[in-house]
Symmetry: C2
Subunit: 701 residues, 2 copies
């Protein structure tokens, strides 16, 4: 995939300048110095030769097929150049020129025209506003960045060209090998999804790292990211995390779901490791690129100084890794090779005067033991340490079965050792905490890789009833679905709903109550009254026909008094359900990633403690149960303080049914089941109140 772009046999550059410093000139220099083995065609009508290569007046005069065409012309000349390239039948195109969508309306229009042209000709376009691309394994440096790192297993996709340059510079200075690096710019055509797909299949890429500011198509991203993550690790730094922006949401669920929550949920679903900071992006990437995945979360730490060992232990405990003590045999073996002052627990402290021999004796003993899934070797530069020798011997001794990472603390004294380790595929960090964080990322990814197959249950439901309710609301131009019809929809999805009837007079109310059986609940029904309780629109526990009659009149009176213009459809008379634990089940539709399910305990747990969890739909039974367990208040559901446990399966089942409803009906923008009353195990659980909102008509499919 994208071979013309990423593995071209020939490259033409439109807009090659004779002046050093100009983009077109620098790209040409990089192509040549990078050692590209295919043909390089500089195109400039005003020059015969540039940098020792024959220069062509235009693409047509080259007379050979051109795989990749780079455009480094001023913005005013780009459209004509694109037409020329398409006429010349190039394989793929990169527009390095800036000044398009990012500067305003005119640029955006020009960009759209160009990308339309390329699409018509089925030629893929990267950019504009791109720094270019590097495929180190293909000896292709088609960027105007000043430095090029060595070839390696880390591929980089970046929405920011400037950051891309900084990354290349950093990687080169650290000796970190990169594979394919692309700066995809304005994404007029090719975007993150295309590169995820291409790099997933690229054998030279061991880990895909990405810097993203936006995601164009959530659904395609999810699919591509997960397919890539199933093959190799995908680490992404997604910025703009806290600027969630005010979101107009009428549901609890919507108001609690910040934009960033959807990204977390999406990345988790897709198995993408999310980097928290710029530094962690490559902390993770190095571990993934250089080491095998751990089989569990048990970490062994070897150190020549107590302090950093404690730092590692603190960080491990804080991130859920375990420092198990070595078994007796391993401890004995360690004692045999270490001085009496050494510590043979975990961390293993080989103490300050350890030379590489002693370090290696300890490391090999640990490597032969079976109390860890990964090893962290820490070194501080002491008199006997000889860091560079240690680095060499460590790489030599490592059998590669379990992941090994290093943390060498200090400055110039350990600098060479760090480079040696990096070059020998042992990631070396400047602090124990960063090393542990990288290992934690590996453990999480390994767990995702070993996840059970996702089986989404499909429940038999009655879609015709739902269709009818939605059609009716569309016809009436109502975007809110209130309790009565909301419950009709939920009943069609096999939720338990108390018996109830919409009535329009007090005598109808009494008749309904007699039919349903006492006690009953009565609630005002109006498309204009969303928060019924706030206007006194709910009456509970009505036990006699007199009470029902009074309640009807009172509800009608109150609603007309507090909201004179409200359209009142009547009063809903409903069987009074049993008491139980109140929870809230909800769904809101993220613009990028679609339906997101919410769970939380009702009332203050949602409103005050914000103790809710989210998960992308569709959801499996296991994932639904995980949502419950991820709340802080989970223990309240399993029975504490003398209360009995509630029917967890009923909640998880409810979430799965909402999941199905949300994927079946994209028209439903958000919904709250609030409260959903959960009974004891084996008892009854039911929907006490529910609301839904439809998407605006024009958007709904």
């Amino acid at each position: 995939m994208l071979d013309s772009l990423l593995k071209p046999q020939s490259v033409a550059v439109l807009g090659v300048s004779r002046s050093a410093g100009k983009v077109g000139h620098e790209v040409m220099v990089n192509l040549i110095q990078g050692g590209f083995e295919g043909a390089i065609y500089p195109v400039n009508p005003g020059a015969e030769e540039i940098l020792g290569l024959r220069c062509y007046p235009d693409l047509a005069s080259i007379g050979e097929p051109v795989d990749l065409c780079l455009v480094a012309l001023p913005v005013s000349k780009v459209e004509a150049a694109v037409k020329q390239a398409l006429a010349a039948n190039v394989g793929a195109m990169v527009i390095l020129t800036a000044g398009f969508k990012e500067v305003g309306e005119d640029g955006a229009e020009l960009e759209a025209r160009i990308s339309d042209l390329c699409r018509q000709h089925r030629v893929r376009l990267m950019g504009p506003n791109s720094v270019g691309l590097i495929n180190a394994h293909h000896k292709l440096n088609a960027t105007f960045a000043p430095v090029m790192p060595p070839p390696g297993g880390i591929s980089v996709i970046s929405q920011s060209g400037a950051l891309c340059v900084a990354i290349l510079d950093w990687a080169a200075s650290q000796g970190i090998g990169l594979g394919t690096t692309v700066s995809f710019g304005n994404k007029a055509d090719l975007n993150e999804v295309d590169f995820l797909e291409a790099l997933a299949e690229d054998d030279e890429t061991r880990v895909i790292t990405g810097y993203l500011e936006s995601i164009d198509d959530g659904e395609r991203f999810l699919t591509a990211a997960q397919e890539a993550a199933d093959i190799k690790p995908v680490v992404i730094l997604k910025v703009g995390v806290t600027a969630a922006g005010a979101k107009a949401a009428s549901s609890h669920t919507g108001s609690l779901a910040g934009a960033d929550i959807a990204y977390w949920a999406a990345f988790k679903r897709a198995g993408v490791i999310r980097a928290e900071t710029f530094e962690s992006l490559f902390d993770y990437a190095q571990a993934f690129a250089m080491q095998p995945l751990p089989e569990g979360r048990r970490l062994a730490v070897i150190t020549n100084a107590g302090g950093p060992g404690i730092m590692a232990a603190d960080a491990a405990e804080g991130s859920g890794l375990e420092l198990m003590s070595p078994d007796e045999a391993t401890q004995d073996a360690l004692r045999a090779v270490l001085p009496p002052e050494a510590a043979v627990g975990n961390p293993v402290d080989v103490i300050g005067d350890a030379d590489p021999d002693r370090y290696m004796a300890a490391f090999e003993t640990i490597q032969a033991g079976d109390f860890n899934d990964a090893t962290l070797l820490i070194a501080t530069p002491q008199n006997m340490t000889r860091p560079a020798e240690l680095a060499h011997r460590l790489a030599q001794a490592h059998d590669g079965e379990k992941p090994l990472v290093a943390a060498f603390l200090g400055g110039d004294e350990v600098e060479e050792a760090r480079r040696i380790l990096t070059s020998l595929n042992i990631p070396c960090y400047s602090s124990p905490e960063r090393a542990v964080r990288a290992l934690r990322g590996m453990v999480d990814y390994a767990a995702w890789r070993n996840r059970p197959p996702r089986v989404v249950t499909r429940f038999p439901v009655n879609r015709r009833r739902v269709d009818r309710v939605i059609r009716w609301h569309r016809r009436m131009k109502l975007s809110q679905i209130g309790e009565v019809e909301g419950k009709e929809i939920l009943r069609a999805y096999d939720f338990t709903i108390p018996r109830g009837r919409l009535v329009e007079s007090s005598s109808q109310a009494v008749e309904a109550a007699n039919q349903i059986g006492y006690p009953v609940v009565m609630k005002i029904v109006s498309p204009d009254i969303i928060h019924k309780s706030d206007v006194g629109g709910v009456r509970l526990n009505l036990a006699t026909s007199d009470q029902v009659r009074d309640a009807f009149d009172l509800l009608m009176l109150r609603s007309t008094r507090s909201l004179p213009d409200a359209r009142v459809r009547g009063v809903y008379v409903e069987a009074m359900g049993r008491r139980g634990r109140e929870v809230i089940l909800g769904m809101t539709r993220d613009p990028q990633f679609g339906p997101m399910l919410m769970f939380g305990l009702g009332g203050i747990f949602v409103e005050v403690m914000k103790d809710v969890t989210f998960h992308l739909a569709p959801i499996t039974a296991d994932e639904a149960m995980q949502m419950l367990k991820a709340t802080r208040s989970y223990a309240l559901l399993t029975g504490v303080r003398g209360e009995s446990a509630v029917d967890l399966e009923a909640i998880a089942g409810g979430l799965q049914r909402i999941s199905q409803l949300s994927t079946d009906y994209p028209e439903i923008a958000e919904l709250d089941l609030n409260p959903f009353i959960v009974g004891p195990v084996g008892g009854e659980s039911y929907v006490a109140d529910a609301r839904m909102a439809l998407r605006p008509q024009e958007v709904a499919k």
Copy 2:
């Protein structure tokens, strides 16, 4: 203070070897190469001259006063050397030799003998097991570490010698200036408190950084740290944070207070900035050493790349800093100096092709504006950036009124610029997130410096009643103070306690209830029954004498049935208080830092949600109110969902009274007021149940 040690006029080294690599030899090399201007006396009976200096057979033969005596002899010869040094009347001593307390019993005994000797002679001792010390401003390098950083404002105190060496190496390689660096080793005599005191008064130290694994005397540490922090920033990395270890606690408060919570509380009280990781220790230290404190939390960001700007904004929002938009005038001024594609909000994006001129035009405009309290300048290495020139000009342009920090992203291309910035006192970080974190540390410290005076209210109390209760429990060898006497103590500290009486028969119970007035509560009273409810030992809302009589019999029956050996003192009959909001007030005594107060909402909020806050006693009214506000459930106290607000002052007052009780009575190890019932504002709040535990007799003062 400690001048003989930190600013000696003469240094003698016992155990100077001719062999390079030996501790005594390396120290001598460092002393000479460091350029120490005082006298240096190598002592070795077997040599005439070492490293060009006359060698002495012993201290006595020097014939001149010796301020600082370093001991680098084998462990077996150290005691004799110490005696010799004391006889020669040295000013201070450092034992570099290892092999003492850290290796076992014998070493510990030797160490204790030596420190006793020094104390008897009033000679201060650092070590043993120390790497030595450096005072760069005094040109003193009395360590055996291989490198020495340039002189600067950051002083370092380290409990780990190995880490100290790594820090010196790192600082030297980064060009970061250090002032006084001490590796205080086993703390046989001098410890963290002594160095905090000494460095607080050292004019050359701008910031004190510390690496600590343990704190010897919490109270002295608190005092010294706070006194130091009142003069200059103190940043400490305290490791061993999560290994809290199981703590036997009978109170809720005790079981919720991990050891690390006490450190957080203590550092917060003392104004100490706590470094979360090894890297953040010096991230903070550099900002403090090089820049003035900000006056507020408003941050301006300048960048030549959008991505890192967003990273900075994300980090700022996540840590409570504000990115305000520049005022109109500043925006106009920015537009006048920047190209049209630039962004003049916050971050200010000078875009990728910015040269130092443009960067400086933007920086100077921002510096003249008034929408920020601190500035972060971000640079990625692009074609026009010229990082080194930018660094020079930035330092030149900065007027020093508001703090300025930089984040230069990349590798070799920005390396020189980073060094230039560091050398010109502008801290430069490798990521936007680290820069923002450092600024956040400055903002927090500035806020602490500007804190209102702490006035701890002293309430008039009746200590005689408390003395009596405690004496009685001591006499009875009871360590638990149950509800009846616990409430007596609290009543003496002016808590509202419902009327109640301890009774021993059903007729006494009825008599008591008649006197108190119905309804009443009845509870079993036994030193052996701590959790009364668990054994059915509580009866609520008893409205008639018959009910009281029945309840008495039932309580006695139940308690003897479930705990046949329990010593039952009778039944407590108490007026039934009004309903209100249940909260828990508690105190547990940290072994290091003394009484720690706890607050949380009652029931599930404590037990399930663990939503509690801690604060060291003594506490002010304002701090008590902060404890309330720091809980997630705080909104429940101020009235949400139709519930009325509770009397916050009553809770804060209760915490202050417990604070006073805990400081007045060190005998009280822990206490729970659980629940404390808070009424509405102006209403009644009272203690519904209370328990206390006394410290073991031998420990109590």
